[in-house]
Subunit: 306 residues, 2 copies
C-alpha cells in the first residue's frame, strides 16, 4: 500500500452566472496541491505553505475536516499529515477552501484503494465546506471533486449531475486584489424575489444546460444572464461594468461573478478569445492588482502529481 | 398552387411540472384538425364543429387571429375559410386555443409555399394566444407548432430551444370534467417567492433538461417536482393527491398539472406503464367524468391530413 501521494485539485466557478447555488464548473488553473502522508496513529497534522492566514487546526481547515470525515469512516485508527501548497488566492470566489478538501479526499481514497463512492466523497467534502464556511453549498466542492460542469439537482437529498463541457470552451478568470466576505455578499441577497424574476432565471439556466449538451454557442451566449444575484452583488466588485462589457468586445460568450466574488469569469469559444479577455482584464485591473488565468474547462477534476 | 389543406396540430402540456411558464411539450392525442380553403378576397371565415361555445368572429378566435397575422404579412389581398374540427376539450389546460392556431399557421405556410420562418409562425401564434387569452405564454403554442419539448429560454426577445424526447417516453393525460379558468389559477400564484424556493425549482428544471438529453430516467423522476405553482393550484383539482400517488404506484416517473389544469399528465418509460396510469385515472375520475389519452411525446408537431 502506497503511503503518500501528491494531488492537484482545481479551482471552481460557483453560480456560473445563471445557476445561482446550483451550477459550478472546474478549470485547470488555478488550483491547490496537497501532499498526503499516512500516519500509523489517529491524528491529523496540517502544514500550509504559500499562505500564513490559513488555520492549521484540523477542525478549522477544510482539508482537516475532510480528512477527519474520511478516516472516521474508513480507518479510525489511522492518521494523515497534510502538506497544503496553497497556490490559489483565498477568499477569491474560486472555491479555494473546496479545492484543498477535494484534493485531500481524492488522494486519501486512492491511498486506501478506493473504499468510498463519489457520493460519499461529496458528503465528506460538503461537511468540510459547512464546517469551514458555515454553509454547505456544493457548487464548488462537487466540480472540484469530479470536474466538468456540475448541476446540483437537489440539496435534500443531495443529487448532482455532471455535464461535460464542449471541447473548445475556454474560461478566463481574473482575481482582483480586493476582499469580499461571502457572508457580506449573501447579505445583499433578498429573502424573496418576484415570481417573474424566478421564471426569467429558470429560462436562462435551462437554456445554458441545453447549450452545453448541444454545443449551441448562440444559445449559451443568450443564457449567460443573471437577474438574481448579480444586480445586487456587482456593486461590491470594482470596475465590474467595464469588465463585463470587455468580454463582449473581445468576442466572448459572456460571464460574470465567480461564486460571491471578487473574481470574475468569462466563457469563450477557443483560446484566442479567452486570452484576449485575459489581456484586457489584466490591463483594466493593473492599478488594483490582479491575477489572471486562462484554461479549458477541466473535465477531469483532481489529478495525481506524484 | 394548392388551394386547400387539412392539418392536425397536437395538444400540449404547458409548465411540464418543473418548468413553470418556460417548458411545454406536445402529444399525439388529443389535438385539433383544421381545414383551410383559400379565398380570393381578403376575409376570414370560421366554422366550428364539435363545440358550440367557441367564438367564430376572426378577432376572438385564435385560428382567426393567427390567420389574420399571417395574411397581413404574406398576402393582404387574400382570405381563408377555416373549418375547425374541435376534437379536444376547451379550457382543459391542454393548449386547446394554441392547437387550432398552430394548425392554421402550419397549413397556411404550406399553402403559400413556406414564406414564413419558424420564428415568424411563432410570433403570429403568440399574438393569437395573447388576443384570445389575454396573455402571451409560449409554452403551448411553441410545442404545438414544432413538437417535442420546447424550452422558452427568453421571452424578451422570444427565444426557444427544441429538445427531442427519448423514444420510449410516454405521456398519460386525464381531463376531468371540471372547469378551471386560467385567470383564476393565475390569481393563486404569489407575486413574490422565497429565493430558496426559486433555487430549488431551478435545480429541478435544469435536472429535467439534462435528463432529456441523457435519457437518465432516474434523474427525470427526481426532477419532476414543482414547488412554485402546484402547492397552490392543486387545490382546484379534484382528487389531485390520489391521482399523483397513483402515478408512482403504477411505476410512472412523475407528473402533475397540465398548464393551469384541470388536466393532469404523467410521464412513463414505455406504453405499458402509461396505459396502467390511464386505467387507474379513468377509474378514479369515473364519477366526475373524464377523458383519458395515452401517447408518445409528439416530436413532429402538426401534420397534413389531406
Amino acid at each position: 500500500m502506497k503511503k503518500s501521494i501528491k494531488v492537484f485539485a482545481p479551482a471552481t466557478v460557483g453560480n456560473s452566472k445563471c445557476g445561482f447555488d446550483v451550477l459550478g464548473f472546474a478549470v485547470h488553473e488555478p488550483g491547490d496541491v496537497v501532499t498526503l502522508s499516512l500516519l500509523e496513529e489517529p491524528k491529523i497534522e496540517i502544514v500550509v505553505i504559500g499562505n500564513d492566514h490559513i488555520p492549521t487546526q484540523p477542525d478549522k481547515n477544510t482539508c482537516g475536516v475532510a480528512a477527519g470525515k474520511f478516516l472516521d469512516r474508513v480507518a479510525p485508527d489511522r492518521g494523515v499529515k497534510i502538506l497544503l501548497d496553497k497556490k490559489m488566492p483565498v477568499g477569491s470566489g474560486l472555491g479555494s477552501s473546496a479545492a484543498g478538501a477535494a484534493a485531500t479526499l481524492y488522494g486519501l481514497n486512492i491511498l486506501f484503494d478506493n473504499p468510498c463512492s463519489d457520493e460519499q466523497l461529496l458528503e465528506f467534502g460538503l461537511a468540510a465546506e459547512a464546517a469551514a464556511c458555515g454553509a454547505g453549498h456544493a457548487d464548488n466542492i462537487a466540480p472540484s471533486l469530479f470536474g466538468g460542469f456540475i448541476l446540483i439537482q437537489s440539496y435534500e437529498p443531495l443529487k448532482i449531475k455532471k455535464i461535460s463541457a464542449p471541447q473548445n470552451l475556454y474560461c478566463t478568470i481574473v482575481h482582483p486584489d480586493v476582499e469580499i466576505k461571502t457572508a457580506a455578499a449573501r447579505k445583499l441577497l433578498p429573502g424573496e424575489i418576484p415570481l417573474k424574476t424566478a421564471v426569467k432565471q429558470m429560462g436562462y439556466l435551462a437554456g445554458f444546460i441545453a447549450s452545453l449538451y448541444t454545443e449551441d454557442f448562440e444559445l449559451m451566449k443568450n443564457s449567460l444572464q443573471d437577474v438574481l444575484a448579480e444586480p445586487r452583488r456587482s456593486q461590491l466588485i470594482p470596475l465590474f461594468d467595464k469588465a463585463l462589457v470587455s468580454i463582449f468586445e473581445c468576442g466572448g460568450l459572456g460571464g460574470g461573478i465567480s461564486g460571491s466574488g471578487p473574481s470574475l469569469f468569462a466563457l469563450s469559444v477557443g483560446q484566442e478569445t479567452a486570452a484576449k479577455i485575459a489581456a484586457t482584464w489584466k490591463n483594466l485591473y493593473q492599478k488594483i492588482g490582479c491575477q489572471v488565468y486562462v484554461s479549458k474547462i477541466n473535465d477531469q477534476g483532481p489529478k495525481i502529481m506524484g
